[in-house]
Symmetry: D2
Subunit: 480 residues, 4 copies
């Protein structure tokens, strides 16, 4: 995917994020563990990072929070981490999208409400956020940020006024939310997690000793040495009480065939070593590569992936086709967010700084190059060109997802349609633009097969959304 | 190599660095290009970075320099880069070793001497640095740093007093240096490079339009869109004059069979996409993997590399053996220099944060794991353990270099002997310590074969050094 | 006052702040002017600083805000100021008190509410803040800070639901506030200011060309070259509309004899060059010195002030007594917030770093030393000691305010009673403790005379408060 | 002086600095004490600050140094100060002049030479620096900075080759220096100080317990609680040995009538509470004021000083004339180095931000305004204007020094002649330009009287220099 190469001019505020909550029943500090967990989730958001902790044995509004713009290692230092004391806590990393990159939008959000203090961390995009903000404003709410977490917090606070427990208030509030949400909430004495009924975004339960963890990906559990217990089910609210019990409320659940996991988590967004709803991300990508080999075979000498996200599909292609897998690129891992482009000559393209071709590996070879997506096409163009310059005799491009044609309303950062190369061009036109000898995409039929028949959301490829998009912005068709 | 996992407690001051010099004959600013070039060399040194530029049409002592501790993207910003004007310049990145990580040691070194100003960037370790410092002190020199560049600068300044040209002064000064040096010097009107007679460290010549470049690796030439011209030859001094001519002086050269390229550049240190003295680093690593497959075969289901440096040798092993190549690890590229270890439980090992195993890829499989070296053994121990925990039925470790047994006096950062696992243990003992089912190293005989017969230095494996080590520190044997 | 020497361990959250709002009717950017204005108010708060601006011709929720912990010159840079575009804006500086020095509490507060966006800057302490927070929580409010500005914003938002205009909503909201408030509010098209009926804290109106300014002190008007129009009257709400008209609502006003200006603004807090409610701060302090000379005369050679705040009263004393005024101290103006105390010997007292005595000026002399207050007594002790060590034959201390005996509920940062030297000791005991030859305070009767008969609040000296203190914390007596 | 208002465009590199050295014979760490001392000297230099320490019982080259651009409180933090261990050390603050504000020029300079390590801190300008650099270059020296300390260090290193002791080497080296120098040198086992024979710049000896201190001003001794022992005599070299003895070498001394203290130290540069060569700076400024009252009397109501440096002379004038002393200005002490000027309207002059007039104090009054100098005249113009706007009926300006007419070669930062108002205009013209009713300067005859007959340098007023200026830059006349 071209994310590494071009910052999208986003048309809406997306919330691709990572969340991490933990309750240590032995009463030990959790900030260090959350820090480790956020490192494991850093790929889900590089814009801001934050940790809020509380002492379940202390006063009810005693939350310490540190959050700021930047990577986990930029926001946290030995000094400031050492000031975060508490046995319950939530952490968050947020994706960098255009327009609203402000400190006010960093999470976790910490609020004082009628029953003390809550800390909230949220992943996913609501489709009724505007309606909720309007409704809440008209009943006296004030908003200090533009993130969906804030109306959610209001709903919880209001539900709490006539709910017996905070978990019930969270569950009732979630009933009013439409769209994608994977939410972790820390109350003075409980840790709560909730997932939307469609299960757009991942959310898992882990355990380490007597500590419970709710987090976005299983990779974060591995990192802190916790066991995977199970996924939070679509529509489920779970919570841990001070006695160490894990509770569940499934009242918001919908039939399994209505569920709609974001297929793009498997294709690109999640870590290769994570498992989502029982499916290995690695396995899904290997399968995507195998399907490409079956559906769009080509005779060649070498299969390579565009690093890092194209590598697993390339291995799948190699395994299926018998063509050797190799490495064609050296990626410069030092080129990050802060890379600047001094007034350089055009020949010093920034792609060259980030990626170089291994001439020795590709010269004279027919190369199959696997990438996970083509967005605007400009980067693919340059990479194919680099392979040819390095002596590749043929370059066959295979994409491990269908063409992007529609917007995503649930959290994936896709440019406006006019910038999508597949919206404006046929596949053969795209092939010519990027300079490939052949080009093929994964077919839409194969997506569900990738995840062994799970119900998925493929709206960005089909325009068919499982939830009605915001009225003011219906660009796809909605099937009830 | 374990570098990513444990910072060595170094016993001496090593100078593993990257150098980059450019002279733009069209008179355009070069700072932006040097910035790009240093990014391409960042793997050679993460401690400090610096750029010095000068205007060849300006006054003779008009050098601007910015250098500081940190990565290239930490030291340079859009603001400070824009203050560096000049058509000739040198840049430097320096490796982080213990003890002398001070700002005073950052390069390039800029000096005023009898004929104006020089900017110097240097890679490699001299073995007679102490003698030189002693001699220079006794004739009135003062030293403001502990790097070898400073005595080199003094020698050049003194030679200049009775040399006709600055290039001759550089060449004469180099004649007094013993050990490893790849040096780039910017004078008010000329760019000069010199390599030691043994050719320990790489140094190449590139060209872009009318600009000449002298730099450590060909990858830096690719990054800036320059053509590779040739290597600077061992013992050669080259220089570019304002008329755009490239000149050479070979008076310091020694017979080719006496030359001694650092084999560890091919094994680990250089970038996979670089070429050193006519040999592809990628190709050398592929060969190392093939040799291991030939010399130490084993029946297995999967060949994997310890990322990133083990991957190419793993591919070579796979190609030679026919066993499929795969990926067993997910490396967290966000874990860098600034990662801290909050008072975490032991189960939150920092290895887990940096590296996770792909259970899906290895479970139930017999795995051949390729790494480039074992230094202390502690990291190998943990990685093998992670593979077994993830379900690998067997783990066969193959190392693409011989066991480390001796110190390096020329710039490679190897711990004291007592910390080297191979110094204290037999190979079978090491195998048990790291928990592998089988363990094999590349044999010393294969090293020269890896680079098609080039004369190499393998002192760290054999204790036989091409140049006499410092008298006060003879731990190996020296053959005249 | 000892503020410069010892950071108080405050028992409650005080809001001694400076506010600045401006509406440029010519449509020019106001951020630079606010920056200048905040510099003039920096003495009112060194903890945090912020500026929010909006374009009255742009969309209704288009506010840019920059705020952070630190001094004005630490929070703002050329770069970030240049991003603040808008012809209407508010700025704020906040005093550093213990406990709640968090970024979340920095102002201005920017909120989205039912009618767009508001920016609020507030000075003063409410006595019914807890009741308001409780009431608002019980009707579904959530709080993200601990400052009084947040409940005020809620009240405005709720009043706005059934008010015809934003200024009416502000005025109605203010009717529900008890205690001290000087408030500046920026709505999408109007600039509004409101002062509490007692007029505890200053608030003035200025004009420059067609721009209107509402700010804490006239000194800020001088700094930006604006004319002083008049004070905002106690209980008044004023606002500027896009047609450039200044409007007023006096419906919250109370009889003048019930008004209660904070006398400590005249004694210490305000700038010497400011005018509050028609009285010159300079003149008030000169008078205080004259009263001390009249009421507590003593034969001496020299009158000196403890810098800076004691100087004006010392001049008044000198003028009245005919004893020459002089300078006895050199204050080190570089010692600021960031001064650290490395593990030094006790003889390196931090007072010595900040203040040194001019031996030449005091040796052999009988010195009258004027300070504005004695809080704990420790600093006075050291300063008197320094004068004696320097050779002063006698030291007569005169304090230009009565002894501190009671807490302040309206914004002045006074330590808990147990730490107040005057609460525990008679004046003669204090004299002995600080080592003075004689000691006298200004009498309570003189306070109102200092300000030519204005109604004042002298609760910190008398325990008689014009507004009922919070129920849970009645340490003084309240007279209806 | 206008320094606070306008940064001079300096025509040469001046070294107005503060130095501080200490040797703790009890073996305790000295970094904290140096930090305190540098705070007391901060007025002597705000560009860079540095501390170097060493352990006299440790190895001979074990010096730790921290130095950087910025104020003392910007360069040093609790963290970095705590890393500086050693019982001997030197510190330095450097004045900000145009052109060479680079980190390479920060002091102390730490060098390794034939006998170990030296730390050097230096104040003053050499007139033969260029000759020394030329000579040293021609014998093989290289220079890494542009400060005079570097050739001094070379001379010491070379003298050391044939001197019995380091103090003798320092003394011999000083014999080759021409111009102003007050030097403190730390060797592995000794602390050494040297002052030039003319005694241009101050240098004093202090003692605290068994610790000896050599520093620029007595105020630094007061700050750390040390006793003043005596001045280092012009031409003297002093040193402390490990046995705690203070030694002296007077071989470089010249007759007292040839000595030439910088009179500007008394007028402006030194702290009011310091004593230089037996004279109180405060007393000298009081005298200057008295002389002005005697020589240029005028009938008026009020005497005021331009803060801070004009205040003492104003008090002297008041004492002599019997006209009351008062305060006419409020200076904003928060406006410092980092104040920026956002694109403001002209009416927001930066003078207004820094200085405001106390209308209440001056309205209707005839004011005598004392300043220490007029350089370009622009600031005086604005300040006189502010007084008149505020209602002063007359403004009589008195300057406590003669007109600046000549450059200074010894360390005072005076603009080029063309920018000096007194070079281009008669006194009456200046009076008109600045808008004063009358204007008078202190006469040259009074300067020596100010310091009770000490031999002084008044070259900046007279063009007669005690040492021959650099040949290439003779703008004044030199009398042998």
């Amino acid at each position: 995917m071209e994310k590494y190469f071009e910052k999208n001019a986003s048309d809406s505020l997306h919330e691709e994020c990572g969340v991490f909550g933990i309750y240590d029943l032995d009463g030990e500090d959790v900030a260090g563990t959350i820090y480790y967990g956020l490192f494991a989730l850093q790929h889900r958001g590089q814009e801001s990072a934050g940790i809020a902790v509380s002492d379940t044995n202390g006063p009810k509004n005693n939350v310490s929070v540190i959050k700021d713009m930047g990577l986990v290692n930029e926001v946290f230092s030995k000094d400031n981490l050492s000031t975060l004391h508490g046995d319950i806590g939530v952490g968050h990393v947020r994706y960098s999208t255009a327009g609203e990159s402000t400190r006010e939008n960093a999470q976790p959000m910490v609020i004082n409400y009628v029953k003390g203090t809550l800390g909230l961390a949220h992943n996913g995009n609501l489709v009724n956020a505007n309606e909720l903000r309007q409704y809440l404003s008209e009943t006296g709410a004030i908003f200090q940020s533009t993130i969906d977490t804030e109306p959610i917090a209001y709903l919880i606070a209001r539900e709490r006024l006539h709910s017996a427990t905070v978990e019930q208030a969270v569950n009732n509030a979630c009933d009013k939310l439409q769209g994608a949400f994977s939410l972790v909430v820390m109350s003075p004495r409980k840790l709560i997690a909730a997932r939307d009924p469609h299960g757009f975004k991942p959310l898992v339960i882990g355990k380490r000793g007597r500590s419970y963890i709710f987090t976005s990906e299983t990779a974060a559990l591995d990192t802190i040495g916790a066991e995977f217990v199970r996924d939070v089910r679509p529509g489920e609210t779970v919570w841990v009480t001070p006695d160490g019990e894990l509770h569940s409320d499934m009242s918001r659940a919908i039939p399994e065939e209505k569920q709609a996991r974001c297929i793009f988590e498997y294709i690109y967004f999640a870590r290769l070593d994570s498992y989502i709803d029982g499916r290995s991300v690695y396995d899904a990508r290997i399968k995507a590569g195998r399907f490409l080999a079956q559906d769009s075979p080509v005779d060649a000498d070498l299969v390579v992936g565009v690093p890092e996200s194209g590598n697993a599909a390339a291995m799948g292609y190699a395994l299926e086709s018998g063509i050797p897998y190799g490495t064609a690129f050296v990626k410069n891992s030092y080129v990050g967010r802060t890379f600047i482009k001094p007034g350089q000559k055009s020949r010093e393209s920034s792609v060259r700084v980030k990626l170089n071709v291994l001439r020795e590996a590709v010269k004279g070879k027919r190369v199959i190059m696997i990438d996970d997506s083509i967005v605007r096409g400009t980067t693919s163009d340059r990479i194919v060109g680099m392979l040819k310059e390095a002596g590749a005799s043929e370059v066959h491009v295979r994409i491990s997802s269908p063409p992007f044609l529609w917007p995503c309303y649930f959290g994936t950062d896709i440019p406006v349609r006019e910038q999508l190369i597949a919206y404006n061009h046929s596949i053969d036109e795209i092939r010519k633009i990027i300079g490939a000898d052949t080009l093929a995409y994964l077919s839409i039929d194969r997506l569900r097969e990738m995840v062994d028949g799970l119900s998925i959301c493929d709206g960005c490829f089909t325009g068919k959304y499982p939830v009605k998009p915001p009225e003011e912005d219906i660009r796809g068709s909605y099937e009830k």
